[in-house]
Amino acid sequence: MGRGVILELKNLHTEVEQKEILKGVNLQLKRGRIYALMGPNGAGKSSLAYTIMGHPRFKVSRGEIIFNGENITNLTPSERAQRGIFLAFQYPIEISGITLFNFLRLIFNTRVDDRKSPMEFSKFLKSKLEVLDLNEKFISRYLNEGLSGGEKKKSEVLQMVIVNPELVILDEIDSGLDIDAMKIVSNTINNFFNEDKTILIITHYQRFLDYVKPDNIFVMFDGKILASGGYELIDLIEREGYETLEKRREHDEI
């Protein structure tokens, strides 16, 4: 596959209970690239992620979402997932009574034609667990139930690896991870990445971006993409904060 555009957001507006959240987002993501999305609390980063995934609460009032040339604005979340979009949640949801193992097998079998029996799947899973420094006990627990913040993030990454999507949105995957876990998770993401994949990392911290090096950085502010650029943007934000960035943009300084 080439280096074409995988995702395009055109003048995307969304509302939650009549309140406008995304206020005209334009964005283009290409295959084989890693992107970072930064921005202050409440800027709309998670909202953007949810909207791309098709959360029913976020109503698209204007604009469209194009994935691999197809307008997916009106597709259900599972249809989007089946086309290859994956969202690692900022706050993963707990589901009682379903073991992570059974869940992983279920989502694997949903995505892949080559269904695996529990035995086969167990073998397939083994190496992936080792990489993430997880054990058998972890996958026999119920889906995210009672997991620590960091463990939940690992569960998200494990699901990503199993589903093997084309476009991955990682919403603050680094929050709650200790230094060792951050290395393990970023390694897993780097190994997962190849020229057919696209990764969008939502984060507040430069540190994680030092491990998973993005090609491009977007800054979001008040429901819009405020700026796009390279590492120099991060330095600017760390030095001056988002508010100044916004003011300078108003004066066309960036």
Binding site: G54, T76, S78, A81, I93, I95, G97
Partner: protein
């Protein structure tokens, strides 16, 4: 006498159905047809008198539609196969197909066939049980072959005078299982009503009696998850279980009668010193079910574990619960009830926990969780807890929940269609119970619930 009226002298070849309605004569006739001993005839007649005097229960679902005069109280087993495949409602036939149930079993479940393919398996099992002195026959056979045992225990756990339906059952009962486990014997493979080859298996007024001698163990499984078609509108079973010192009995029922059935069951166990009773009860089918499995803990240190799942869909009312009576010190009970209501279905949990003054240092835990799948459905709980001493520990939890939108979205975002996502949440909800079921039952139960949520059934 009535029984000679039709000129049939040989009950074995008697192919006449009794007429509708109940009378002393009908009760006598049932007993005569079965060629029962005098004591059983008296047991029935006495129960019939009690039935006449008792009122319908004053609580729970409306039973005013039940017309006792419109019911045939006994049909000879050989007559029961008379209905044809075409008479089986389409929704049940479709479900069999979707569940992939083999043809032979479908016919059995549809009440069309008495034979079950694994006759050979059954014979083998039977031989090994026999060597150990285990008895597993239908209760009619037991009256003939083990009259002393039946006579000693029948009606001692659930007396005919317990309620109107136990009286009715005692008067007209037919079929059911009789199980006797000698002292110290453990039956490793669950005994399944499936394997009891005769059509009385799915009778209308089953009478089941289990006697576990000291230190013995048995797991009895009744019913199955696939829907069972019944032409009878009233099913009223009585189950009596005697669990002696240090013995353990696990009793698993999955009830999935067709939606025309009133299913009114009295199930009770008595537990002696250090005995363990486990009731696992699934109620999926029927129009109305009233069933409150109970355990009377008479012996020191005895234990009761009650797990139940109820599913109420359109037009269904599951009034189920549990009753535990702590009548000796150091007794332990744990009740876990899970119910799911959908499409206007209604569930009630009705329970009683009683701890006697003498039942010191006892332990009670009760948990009722309800999942409502839409706004038209309903669920109520009526727990009564009476603790008559001061050193019993009690934990009581209850919850009512709906399928959470965030959970749904999370699962959908992993590629599961919405109906599968909600089925998965339901599956997780009942997991504490389904994990206690034999594996193939749990699988079938999950499959069935998935179909039910998809709206393919009913």
């Amino acid at each position: 006498m009535t029984r000679y009226k039709y000129g049939f002298k040989d009950p074995e070849n008697y192919v006449f159905r009794l007429t509708k309605g109940l009378s002393k004569e009908i009760v006598e006739e049932i007993s005569w047809l079965k060629m029962e001993p005098e004591w059983m005839r008296k047991f029935r007649l006495n129960a019939y008198e009690i039935f006449l005097k008792k009122n319908l229960p004053s609580w729970g679902p409306d039973l005013s539609d039940l017309n006792f005069d419109d019911i045939v109280y006994y049909v000879k087993p050989s007559d029961r196969k008379s209905s044809s495949w075409e008479d089986v409602p389409e929704y049940i036939r479709n479900t069999f197909e979707r569940l992939g149930i083999p043809e032979a079993e479908r016919r059995l479940l549809a009440g069309l066939s008495a034979q079950y393919e694994s006759e050979m398996v059954y014979h083998k099992l039977k031989e090994s049980w026999k060597k150990k002195g285990v008895i597993f026959v239908d209760t009619d056979t037991a009256v003939k072959e083990y009259p002393e045992l039946v006579r000693e225990y029948i009606g001692t756990v659930v007396s005919p005078s317990d309620n109107k339906f136990s009286a009715l059952n005692s008067a007209v009962w037919s079929g059911g299982s009789f199980i006797y486990i000698p002292e110290g014997v453990s039956v490793e493979i669950p005994l399944q009503a499936y394997f009891r080859i005769n059509s009385q298996n799915m009778g209308q007024f089953e009478r089941t009696l289990i006697i576990a001698e000291p230190g013995s163990y048995v797991h009895y499984i009744e019913g199955c998850t696939a829907p069972i078609y019944s032409t009878y509108s009233l099913h009223s079973a009585v189950v009596e279980v005697v669990v002696k010192k240090g013995a353990r009995v696990r009793y698993t029922t999955i009830q999935n009668w067709s939606y025309n059935v009133y299913n009114l069951v009295t199930k009770r166990a008595v537990a002696y010193d250090e005995a363990i009773v486990e009731w696992i009860d699934g109620n999926l089918g029927s129009k109305v079910t009233m069933k409150y499995p109970s355990v009377y803990m008479r012996g020191k240190g005895s234990k009761a574990e009650l797990l139940s799942i109820a599913y109420a869909g359109k037009g269904q009312f599951q009034d189920v619960g549990a009753k535990v009576l702590h009548l000796a010190p150091y007794t332990f009970s744990r009740i876990t009830s899970k119910s799911i209501s959908k499409d206007g279905g209604r569930n009630s949990y009705r329970g009683l926990v009683y701890v006697d003054p003498c039942a010191t240092k006892s332990n009670v835990s009760l948990r009722c969780d309800t999942l409502l799948l839409d706004n038209q459905s309903r669920s109520d709980t009526y727990p009564i807890i009476k603790i008559e001493n001061s050193n019993t520990s009690l934990s009581h939890e209850a919850s009512v929940s709906k399928i959470d939108d965030e959970q749904l979205f999370y699962l959908e975002s992993r590629g599961l269609p919405k109906d599968e996502a909600s089925a998965l949440i339901v599956r997780g909800f009942i997991e504490p119970i389904s994990k206690e079921l034999p594996f193939e039952y749990a699988v079938e139960l999950n499959r069935l619930i998935r179909l039910q949520l998809r709206g393919d059934i009913g």
